[in-house]
């Protein structure tokens, strides 16, 4: 009564065993990734640290404004400085200059420009996803850098400390705009 298994059956079992083992290893890896993500640090969502600290309307007639921010970011934090106008029918050009004190470490300090406040929300929620809004003007691990970027309504600059250590910087910037494009209520 005992019958020998055909070669197809043996190959079928072998393939099944290989499939089960490969799938098991993949799932263990996926579980590990999920557990790692769960226990990784999840920084607070900071919508705007300085959004109310700067009033552009004071000098709106000049069509150009400048300011400097010096600060230290403790731990992994996202700061957002709004630079545009709430109601502005055009684009604003921002020239900036960022300096990190020479006796400190800039590793992990990143800056990004976002054209609108939505770009900031996207960044804050998933900073590693592909969001073209802030990719064009990004700078990472900067010590001293300058440049310019164009933003729109509600846009601004993001200063992101990815390191879990304090990072100090000085950011000076100038914005150029057309006062006639500022819409009054």
């Amino acid at each position: 009564m005992k019958k020998e298994k055909s070669i197809f059956v043996k190959v079928g079992y072998l393939l099944g065993i290989i499939f089960c083992l490969v799938a098991s290893i993949s799932l263990v890896y996926a579980s590990y990734m999920m557990i790692s993500w769960t226990f990784s640090e999840h920084p607070d969502i900071v919508y705007s640290d300085y959004s109310n600290s700067y009033d552009y309307y004071e000098n709106e007639k000049s069509g150009q404004d400048s300011d400097t921010i010096s600060d230290t970011i403790n731990g992994e934090t996202i700061m957002f400085q709004e630079l545009g106008f709430e109601k502005y029918a055009g684009l604003v050009e921002v020239s900036y200059n960022l300096n990190v004190p020479s006796d400190t470490d800039s590793n992990g300090l990143e800056i990004y420009f976002v054209k609108s406040v939505n770009g900031y929300y996207q960044f804050a929620n998933s900073y590693d996803s592909i969001v073209t809004d802030y990719k064009s003007c990004q700078k990472k691990n900067v010590m001293t850098t300058s440049g310019s970027c164009t933003i729109g309504n509600g846009g601004g600059i993001i200063i992101y400390n990815t390191a879990n250590k304090p990072r100090s910087f000085t950011l000076s910037f100038t914005i150029k705009y057309d006062p006639s494009l500022i819409e009054s209520n």
Partner: protein
């Protein structure tokens, strides 16, 4: 020192157990990760995946499925005592002694027609009460050896392990379907689609992997039965038992559904079946089971293939005393299990709620 002979089949069974244990753990991890992501978004104001609203809901659906699966199903049927069917116990003792397996702990009469075995530690023989009126003592003995063959090969241990995981997947699927059904709007219902798709895919993967293994275990149990009775006796039992249960499982649900829709029920489903077991139905059932073709995802091989495996081409009439003669009060048991079968059919047909426990 005990020697273990690892065959390809046992290695495959072990790898399936490993895979579905890890699938189970992954579902748990996924449920907790999604719940945590939802918590980050809703309550902690911290950065998560950005999709915390959706993942939180999916996490809840998965978690409900996992929790639900922890509550075991109520065991159907009546546990037999020796005084209920002394001859059946004698027959079982004889078969156990002949095959030298560890004794079977429990015989349970269950609604319906299936004869099966189950149990990880507690060996149980399940006898579908519908088979008592038709199957002969000799045929039952041959089928008993087939079931003992499953115990001897430890198939019930593998089946019990995998059964826990399959039940979890099944309950994940049902909780996803319920979320879909009870969502007030499609825009909300669609959030549960990933968990519905995942549980559906995993259930099918499970069937896909388990079916070929299960079929080979059935062939082995057939060979075990044939070697302990004889191939012709077992083949005869298999064919007649299959034909009767096929007729029962086709005819009785139709009658029960009809009666339930008129708010009526049968007091003894199994006695009613004898009225429909006439020559035409018997021939039609026999033709149906003998011509049935095997599908890849079937857990059992087709009858044709099983007969071919036993090298049996001709089947005799089934003659002799039926199994019911071993039960002094078999009608009492039939009536006790009649409502259980009716409820099962009512739930499957959607006429009764899943929580229905009694028809009184």
């Amino acid at each position: 020192m005990k020697k273990y002979n690892i065959t390809l089949e046992s290695a495959y069974a072990i790898s399936m157990i490993i895979l579905f244990s890890i699938v189970y753990i992954t579902i748990l991890v996924l449920a907790f990760t999604f719940l945590y992501d939802g918590y980050l978004e809703w309550f902690a104001n911290k950065q998560g995946t950005e999709f915390g609203f959706y993942t939180g809901i999916i996490g809840v659906i998965l978690f409900v499925g996992v929790l639900w699966a922890l509550f075991p199903k109520k065991r159907d049927g009546i546990v037999l005592k020796k005084k209920d069917a002394p001859k059946l116990f004698e027959l079982l003792d004889k078969a156990v002694a002949k095959t030298q397996i560890h004794p079977i702990d429990t015989i349970r009469l269950v609604p319906g027609s299936s004869i099966a075995v189950t149990g990880l530690f507690n060996k149980q023989l399940l006898v579908g009460i519908a088979s008592l009126r038709y199957i002969t003592e000799k045929d039952f003995e041959a089928i008993l050896y087939h079931e003992i063959g499953h115990f001897a090969a430890k198939d019930t241990k593998v089946g019990s392990f995998l059964g826990v995981y399959f039940e979890t997947l099944e309950k994940q699927y049902i909780s996803s379907v319920k979320f879909w059904n009870y969502s007030p709007h499609y825009a909300i219902a669609i959030i549960g689609l990933p968990s519905l798709a995942m549980s559906w895919l995993l259930m099918h993967l499970f069937s896909f992997l388990y079916a070929p293994y299960s079929k080979f275990r059935e062939y082995k149990a057939d060979e075990f039965a044939a070697s302990h009775s004889n191939p012709k006796q077992f083949a005869n039992a298999l064919v007649h038992y299959s034909a009767y249960t096929y007729a029962h499982d086709v005819i009785m649900p139709q009658i029960i559904v009809q009666l339930l829709s008129e708010n009526k029920k049968l007091t003894n489903v199994y006695a009613t079946m004898t009225n429909y077991w006439h020559k035409e139905n018997a021939e039609a059932s026999m033709n149906a089971v003998l011509s049935d073709t095997e599908q890849f995802k079937d857990s059992h091989p087709s009858l044709q293939n099983r007969l071919k495996n036993l090298d049996v081409t001709k089947v005799n009439e089934n003659e002799g005393k039926t199994l019911k003669t071993m039960f002094p009060e078999f009608e009492k048991f039939e009536e006790q299990l009649s409502d259980d079968y009716t409820i099962r059919i009512g739930i499957n047909s959607g006429l009764l709620d899943r929580s229905t426990k009694s028809l009184d």
